[in-house]
């Protein structure tokens, strides 16, 4: 059983810039993103000053997130097209990529696939900003990275528990931490001033019925997560497909043909997306 106090956990997450285990890139980034009034121009300059970051962002917008390969050639074009929240989210996503590879092999692939599936479902539902949902899919499990960084022993114990008892990693986390990656991710998203809808998607992607402000967005990422696991892309902490929330499934009203399309697009995009690094 756990002896970690969720309040202490939250405090640590909110002061991520001071944690010794957190790599420099994330610290620099949190310094930028936490500013109350960061502008599109500042964030564009921050990316453009770093050639490696520029490459990663452009690869990402030209494949998985935006869905129109090869259309966006510059960071300034990308920021204007996608807007502050999407760019902020992408910046976080590509910056934790290496961390994801190191902390949980397969989590990045899982996240990328969820980003693609979320976008495709959002487009099918006619949502105005499918890129925002895509970013929510990319970041939905970011809490796992933070937990793994800060509490590696406990997190590995949670993964073992999930494996041996055949329970979900979400349940095993509750036992280990009295909190889940969904809580941790939402605290971070709040601290980094992400929009309410994104915070809610992260917080409730395993319990979509609790989403009050963004139920459709949350249902989309919930469904994307399940389809990605169904197909077997990546690894998110345990090997089983979790149950879909029936109300979320009914809210989405996806036909069998829709679901097939999502899987098809997933297949096509994942093949070329794997080298985003």
């Amino acid at each position: 059983m756990s002896n970690i106090d969720p309040k202490v956990l939250r405090h640590k997450v909110e002061n991520i810039g001071t944690l010794p285990t957190v790599p420099g890139v994330l610290k620099r980034l949190s310094g930028i993103i936490e500013k109350p009034r960061i502008t599109l121009v500042e964030i564009s300059a921050f990316i453009s000053n770093d050639p490696a970051l520029t490459t990663k962002i452009l690869k990402m917008v030209n494949s998985a997130i935006y869905g129109f390969p090869g259309r966006i050639a510059s960071v300034s074009h990308a920021t204007m097209l996608l807007g502050l929240n999407v760019i902020k989210g992408l910046l976080l996503g590509v910056s934790v990529f290496e961390l994801m590879q190191k902390t949980m092999n397969g989590l990045y692939e899982h996240s990328l696939a969820c980003a693609i599936a979320s976008r495709v479902i959002a487009q099918k539902k006619g949502l105005k900003e499918p890129e925002e949902i895509s970013v929510a899919g990319l970041l939905h499990d970011i809490g796992k990275v933070i937990l793994m960084l800060e509490f590696q022993t406990e997190y590995e114990a949670a993964m073992n528990e999930a494996q041996t008892k055949g329970i979900s990693i979400f349940e095993a986390e509750k036992n280990q931490f009295n909190a889940t990656h969904a809580n941790v991710g939402s605290w971070l998203a709040e601290k980094w001033r992400f929009p309410r809808s994104l915070i809610e998607v992260i917080e409730f992607h395993h319990r979509p019925a609790l989403a009050k402000n963004a139920p459709l967005e949350t249902a989309i990422v919930h469904m994307a997560d399940i389809l990605v696991r169904a197909r077997g892309f990546g690894f998110a902490g345990e090997n089983y497909v979790p149950e879909v929330n029936p109300a979320a499934f009914e809210l989405l009203k996806l036909s069998a043909a829709d679901i097939k399309d999502v899987l098809k697009e997933l297949e096509e995009n994942m093949e070329s997306a794997e080298d985003i690094s």
Binding site: I226, R229, N239, Y240, V241, P242, E243, V244, L263
Partner: protein, 98 residues
């Protein structure tokens, strides 16, 4: 467009995506036909694998892919809508081998 480990590259293969350096600089363009020399240069670049043209290669034999699908769904058999999701996914995976 299969991703091939650098050790398995052969002359005559065509790049489906450019080969880029860590900083993003394009070293060899998309569509380049690989010669012995190019393969040697790529080996000296510290890259694990690259994309070449051709149909995608499935990493697992079909039987194994379908057996894994069964395992993944073992906990949710009969739960609302899960058999439907499984059925659609199964058809999708079978389609990859046709």
């Amino acid at each position: 467009m299969p991703k091939i480990p650098v050790a398995k590259l052969e002359p005559g293969m065509k790049l489906a995506k450019p080969v880029t350096a860590k900083n993003g600089m394009v070293m060899l363009g998309e569509g380049t036909e690989l010669s012995e020399t190019w393969i040697e240069r790529i080996r000296d670049m510290d890259i694990a694998s690259i994309f070449v043209e051709g149909p995608p290669v499935q990493a697992l034999p079909k039987e194994e892919a379908l057996a894994n699908l069964e395992t993944r769904f073992a906990k949710v058999d009969g739960k609302p809508y899960m058999n439907l999701i499984k059925k659609i996914t199964k058809e999708h995976i079978e389609g990859l081998y046709e």
